[in-house]
Amino acid sequence: MGDAILETEGLTKRFGARVAVDGLSLRVARGDVFGFLGPNGAGKTTTIRMVTGLIRPNAGQIAIGGVRLRRSRRKALRKVGALVETPAFHPHLSARTNLAVFASLSRRVDGKELDEALDTVGLLARAGDKVKTYSHGMKQRLGIACALVPQPELLVLDEPSDGLDPHGIKDVRDLIPSLARELGVTIFISSHILSEVEQTCSRLAIIDHGRLVTQGTMDELRSAEPVVTFGVDRVADARRLIEEKLGLDVLSMDETELRLTLPHERIADVNTALVSAGHRVHAIVTARQSLEDLFLELTEKSIR
């Protein structure tokens, strides 16, 4: 446990009667690119706000690099660079001045360090321009630069691709692993874009209704069983048959297909049951479980 950069224990936050985060215990090891997933309203941003000292938990502990946030706020936050929700800057100031203003709250920085951070996110050429002239994608990258200037050990990024166009999403997706690789910083990233998390994260946690559903590496979390797609007619009837008669969980379905995790040896049983019930099975495709399948499986179970 000694090499954890971020640990939370029994973290709880209530807003009136509503419990936003409920006894959440997370562990992020140094060097991880840690994906933090959950449906809308699951408590991701509330957790990130607690970790970055913006809101106070009702119960539980947060330790950053072994330093308790509640006890030594400044010492703990010195290890953190954060982009929480949409990036916010002073629109009448240039990107460089904005970085200098926020960096001054962490430590003394020189112009060279600011330029390096701007260069890392590809904004050096526009460093002197006022932020009000920036696009959303540029502000997002500036937000990452702002989080990098204090040379943090832990970089917390809350939905860094939110609102970006496909080029912007790709830029951010390429940037994150390079930050981890070149700067050696641990990254804690919350995202809705599951393919992005799958490609960039070494470990992940999924929360729902404020509770931890699971955490681990992709391989640890992914089911050993493949995801099997059945192309079938009368999909709703077929689903009922599989769930009620065979006692299996269907992951998802659309107009022509059903998807479920299934051991190889039971694929034939399902096919036989469908055909015996008069369904026409036109395709059976097996694939390794994706993060999307895992996410849907875990969060849908949680909803039920």
């Binding site: 400044r74 936050l77 002073h90 629109p91 009448h92 001045t97 200098a100 001054s104 709250l105 962490s106």
Partner: protein, 298 residues
Amino acid sequence: MFFRALKCELVKNLRKKRTFWAFAAVTALVSVLLIGYVVSRFDPVSEYLRHASPPERALANMAVEAFGNGMLFAVLFMGLLGFALMPVLAVAFGGELISSEIQLGTLRTALTRPVTRLGFYMTKYAYAALITLGFVLFTAVLTYGLGVLFLGRGPLLVPAALLGQVRGQVRSGTFPGLHVLSEQTALARFFVAYLLVAIAVMTMTTLSFTLSTLVKHTGAAMIIAISTYFILLIVAAVPWLESWRPYLFVSKMTYWLPVFQPDPPVRQIWGDIGYFALYNAALFIPGLLVFLRRDVQC
């Protein structure tokens, strides 16, 4: 750390156009007052001398004529500027310091930094105090500078009217006269008086600063602060609420006037400074407590 953050606060705010507009507005207003003063040959004493004897009135008018220099102009309009203009502009400076950060979302970015909330809040308040003092001193230098430039230098004729002494005594049939302060003495007292004005105006800065913490919308914070000021002025003017006046800071906004008396009542002035200090503390502490405890949801 504190001074580094304060410097950044100055950089951040002094680059806003509205800061320059505020200074430009004061310059324009003082210029208009000066032009009006020169063109209309404004005589502030005669109004108060309607009941004085003709020789006294003639003497006073001659004195105003003789001593109508830049110093008299600067002192005469200090009341108007310190009572009406500066409190309003203090609200404009103080009322946006926290709420604009909430509205922009920059409070969120700032408070994820290794800074204590107390330190952050105190830096903001120190900036508010600094800009208020700077603004008041700017007004002092501007009124005196423009006055001297167009009306010349010289000793200060202090009309008793200015000290708030005449009204009652004239009614009783005795005009208390005028007195003159040498140029050096007048100048020193003028700047001391403006420092006292700054302390009084700081109360409005503190009120608007606290409101900017409690109210998330900058405009709302400013409107509430200005409305409060004018409502308190009205309340302080209501005769049957006279017993309330000691508790209303607006009734002491001209507490600096006795500085121009031949022998200023130093103890009374210190007492008034203490009064304003307590008022400022009482207005500041609720905002601080809210800021320290509040979840940042912006």
